[in-house]
């Protein structure tokens, strides 16, 4: 029964992925590069938030420090291309491994902290990294790294005239990260994570090494996050510290996940599907008015969504599902009577 259920769920996932893979063939999307841009960002932010979801949603450690890992990944690719004139791939690998090490080193002491103390420690880490990257001469400091013109193609992962390959790149990233999380969710490791989230002392009493579990979740999350950062810089052709390594960036990931539903597999995708088009379309329609009109509206919409439904979009869906289930039970019991 359980297996059948999960098979059904997997079928749903294949369906979603096939639909996403076919999106560039819709004529309206293919003709409009801005629509493609929105789709790419939705997939990128969904992947990024899913990476955050491993530690923030499943393990319950609310980290606002993920922009550091995002930034290290971005700088890894950027440095390989701009400073060393290579293809981005070795930079991406080195950056991701580096951000994994950084994640373990900074999280090990921080995991002693609980609740808001942990959250504020991660703020502090973001601010420290931001300031350091701003003055780090080797990384071009506050000027940032600007991409030179390069040969297009998968080897350099750059395209200038079309966004469709980027879309498929983002889709690959999305599928990989979601399948990793899907695998974890049904695995022993996922149950350990949830146990640590629900009650750390009880989890330890049943023999779970909570520090090891949290650290490995953080390392995995940072590793995946820096891949997303690398994709971002390849798409953006430019990176500077405030762009990738600031509290604002961190907040977007948290916002997407919480809005969709933290600790659920669909949550980040749903959150990104709502938040990112909101952000991009308000920017396009009202950004032209200047003076931050679009951001006033965006902030207002965030407040509105949270005030109307604090439990996120998955909260609404779960409510509907539960309602249908109870209805079924009621009708079944009335038949027995």
């Amino acid at each position: 029964m359980v297996k059948e259920n999960s098979k059904k769920k997997d079928l749903l996932w294949y369906f979603v992925i096939v639909i996403l893979a076919l999106i560039p063939f819709i004529p309206q999307v293919a003709a409009n590069s801005f629509t493609q841009h929105v789709f790419i960002l939705v997939l990128l932010y969904a992947s990024m938030s899913q990476a955050w979801n491993i530690i923030g949603g499943y393990c319950g450690q609310v980290s606002f420090g993920h922009s550091v890992f995002f930034g290290i990944g971005a700088y890894g690719a950027g440095m390989a291309v701009v400073k060393y004139g290579l293809a981005p791939w070795p930079g991406i690998i080195i950056g991701s491994l580096l951000s994994m090490i950084v994640a373990v080193v900074i999280s090990y002491p921080c995991f002693k902290l609980k609740g808001h103390y942990f959250a504020i420690a991660t703020f502090a880490i973001v601010e420290i990294f931001n300031r350091l990257f701003m003055v780090w001469y080797w990384l071009n400091g506050a000027l940032g790294l600007d991409y030179p013109m390069m040969k297009v193609g998968w080897k350099n992962f750059v395209w200038y005239r079309t966004k469709i390959p980027y879309y498929y790149g983002a889709l690959i990233l999305f599928v990989v990260i979601f399948s990793i999380v899907r695998f974890i969710e049904k695995n022993r490791f996922g149950y350990y994570l949830k146990a640590v989230r629900e009650d750390q002392e009880t989890a330890e009493a049943t023999g779970i090494n909570s520090t090891f579990i949290k650290l490995s979740a953080m390392a995995l999350s940072a590793f995946l996050a820096s891949f997303c950062g690398a994709f971002f810089v390849q798409y953006n052709f430019r990176v500077d510290p405030p762009m990738v390594m600031s509290l604002q960036v961190s907040m977007i990931f948290v916002l997407v996940t919480i809005l969709g539903g933290a600790g659920t597999l669909f949550g980040p995708l749903l959150g990104a599907m709502i938040l990112i088009p909101l952000q991009e379309y308000t920017r396009v329609y009202w950004g032209g008015l200047g003076r931050g009109t679009d951001l006033i509206l965006f902030g207002f919409l965030i407040v509105l969504i949270i005030v109307r439904q604090p439990r996120g979009i998955m909260g609404i869906i779960n409510e509907i599902l539960k309602y249908r289930k109870t209805k079924k039970i009621i009708s079944a019991s009335s038949e027995i009577n």
Partner: protein, 284 residues
Amino acid sequence: MFFQIAIDGLLTGMVYALVASGLSLIWGVMDVLNFAHGEYLMFGMYVSYWLGFLMNIDPLISWIASGIFCFLLGVLTYKLIIQHCLTGPPLSALLATFGLSMMLKNFALNRFSPNFRILTGTLLDGKRIILGNIVLPLPQLVTSIFALVVVFIIYYIIKRTRLGWAIQATAMDKAAAELMGINTERIFLLVFGLGGLCVGIAGGLLPSYLAVHPEVGGLFGLIAFVCVAMGGFGSIPGALLAALLIGLVEALSGFYIAPVFKYVAVFGLYLLVVMLRPKGLFGW
């Protein structure tokens, strides 16, 4: 030279203390991190600035208007936003205040433009006290002492009055406080208002020596978070001590190491303190 810098740091620290004590109240009683706190400060500064600029009212008087304005801002935030978020997961209130801070910041940008504005020709402008080889600029001195006094008044209210006991009771156990006949809804409303009041008073006095612009609140808000967490959960003396320490470290590291590293030192100090005492200086 050392003493001059240390005193400058302490004076800044006292202002941080007032901003942080407002945040500490809200955090201690409701367990909500108010991200819009720095933006309250920014609005407090703008109220005082515009009163000074358009009507020639000195910041020494217009802090009252700023305080009242931010009190109302806090009350409105609670009524319209926070009240609805308390049923959800703990992060939803934080994210809602993040949205609010984005709104307020860009509203200020929209209405008042990103220009840096500073009040000149106030009563205390340019006056200073010279003690030996230490120079004390009067605007900073008055603002800081005033901030310290307000922190003490707030602390007195919390510790010694019936209202303060009700606030403490609500912070400890909301259900039990309700059974004792405390209207916890009203306490929450009042606490949010008081948090706004603290930061509004600080904001009202600041424009006499600090330029006001839409981004001014961001850094103050962040430092207030760090002060509160470093001092310990909802502890006003802890926040005061942490704020003075942060002011000192900021000034000294800015002078002796490099100005760019002063916030690295401040946030590093927080991490160091929290490593040694995971619940802050005065936490338990």
